[in-house]
Subunit: 224 residues, 2 copies
């Protein structure tokens, strides 16, 4: 499903060089659930953004479904994301002017689906927000906004889910429910999941855990 | 330092009524470190916002240093926050157009301090970001942005610190360092700290833990 070949990302600002990701090579099989752990600033979000085409690597190649993305234009990534990739951003990126229901419906509307209502209500209910569909992000708590972001990333049943700290603003009980939801849907639909987390108990739900430190990963990781 | 007398906050939107905070009475002594825990959506952020005057209660009174704030105008709260209250928001509220250093300096500049540099560098170093002062929030990781927000809230040595999930985007090691920093500074300066958290290990650093559920607190809480 996903293969990284010597992927690096370097930010240069005047004299200072920040090596956010350094020579990461990794393979994630179809249907696998991979957790990435690592200290604050170690490169987790940068790596997820590179895999989802939200940022371009300085070196190396991101191979999705056997196809190199090295020559991808912006429009190629947009189409791939729309059809096969769901993303839960670390700070949600919900559209403030839309209601929770409209935010969740967006991936389906962008694919031209005429009747997204039923699927949207299912996803809102699955994350415990059945009766909050009419509220805008500013009227929801931090954890409720995060759950809307999770519902939005799952609504179009993407082949690949990239989730950046999907339970960071949740209490442990609701956090467990959300991870079990992601895991159940992934098993049912054969989805591949790559998630970044600071929580040990979330990482232990994965098939494999990789550790990042200063932009590089420690080999193939360990069985969770 | 802080006394809440039957404080409630109700949001009304057409037919739906959301009781975010319901009849909370609580006293926090000067120099005390209080932790508030509770499920996602239970009212933690709303309560902190009411204590800091970032929102107005529907009923009840927020008493700070023995003075009722019932008659406070916007300008009174602004002055009180500028002089005596520091806030770490759940989603940071950093100014995107300013560097990390400028964001941290802001509370001092607003008080008319001419030479904030030395104190600003101390705070950036204290949160582990000594060499990132020139970067803007968009160039920092989630956890790094959170640490800038903590440094900004501490820089003017406020009498009262309100911190909403101050370690939510940090790994456990850096999270522990930040809480110990807050605790040490509070002990040295006699500061009162009220923090909301989903992390048991953070809450255990406090003097007392109060639980919120559906907008109300469970009495006086327990000794941590
Ligand atoms: N403007 C608003 N209109 C309607 N409801 C609101 C508004 N602001 C907050 N709420 C609701 O009030 C309740 C309490 O929200 P609050 O942000 O205080 O929760 P919290 O304990 O901080 O949760 P979290 O741990 O998820 O951050 C939530 O159910 C939220 O949806
Ligand atoms: N535009 C940028 N310019 C300079 N440095 C950057 C930029 N974006 C990210 N970085 C740096 O790259 C490093 C990796 O950042 P990244 O966001 O991937 O970390 P992370 O592992 O997700 O951390 P966290 O757990 O705090 O969210 C950080 O030190 C960050 O400051
Ligand atoms: Mg991150
Ligand atoms: Mg909150």
């Amino acid at each position: 499903m996903v293969r990284l070949e010597g992927v690096s990302k370097v930010y240069q600002r005047g004299a200072s060089i920040i090596r956010a990701v350094q020579g990461v090579s990794l393979e994630v099989a179809k249907g696998e659930l991979l957790a990435i752990m690592g200290p604050s600033g170690s490169g987790k979000s940068t790596l997820l953004n590179l895999i989802g085409g939200l940022d371009r690597p300085t070196q190396g190649d991101v191979v999705i479904d056997g196809h190199s993305t090295r020559g991808f234009a912006e429009a190629d990534w947009t189409q791939l994301r729309r059809e096969r990739i769901g993303v839960v951003f670390q700070f949600f990126n919900l559209l403030p002017g839309l209601t929770a229901r409209e935010n969740v419906a967006l991936p389906l509307l962008l694919r031209g689906e005429a009747d997204p209502e039923k699927r949207v209500e299912e996803c809102l209910a699955a994350v415990g927000l059945a009766n909050r569909g009419e509220h805008r992000p500013s009227e929801l708590s931090g954890g409720e906004q995060q759950r809307v972001a999770v519902a939005r990333a799952l609504v179009h049943q993407p082949a690949l889910l990239l989730a950046d700290e999907p339970t960071g603003n949740l209490d442990s009980k609701v956090g467990r429910e959300i991870i079990h939801l992601i895991k159940t849907l992934a098993r049912q639909g054969g989805q591949t999941v790559i998630l970044a987390t600071h929580s040990r108990s979330v990482a232990e739900e994965a098939d494999r855990i990789v550790l990042m430190r200063d932009g590089s990963v420690d080999g193939e990781g360990v069985r969770a």
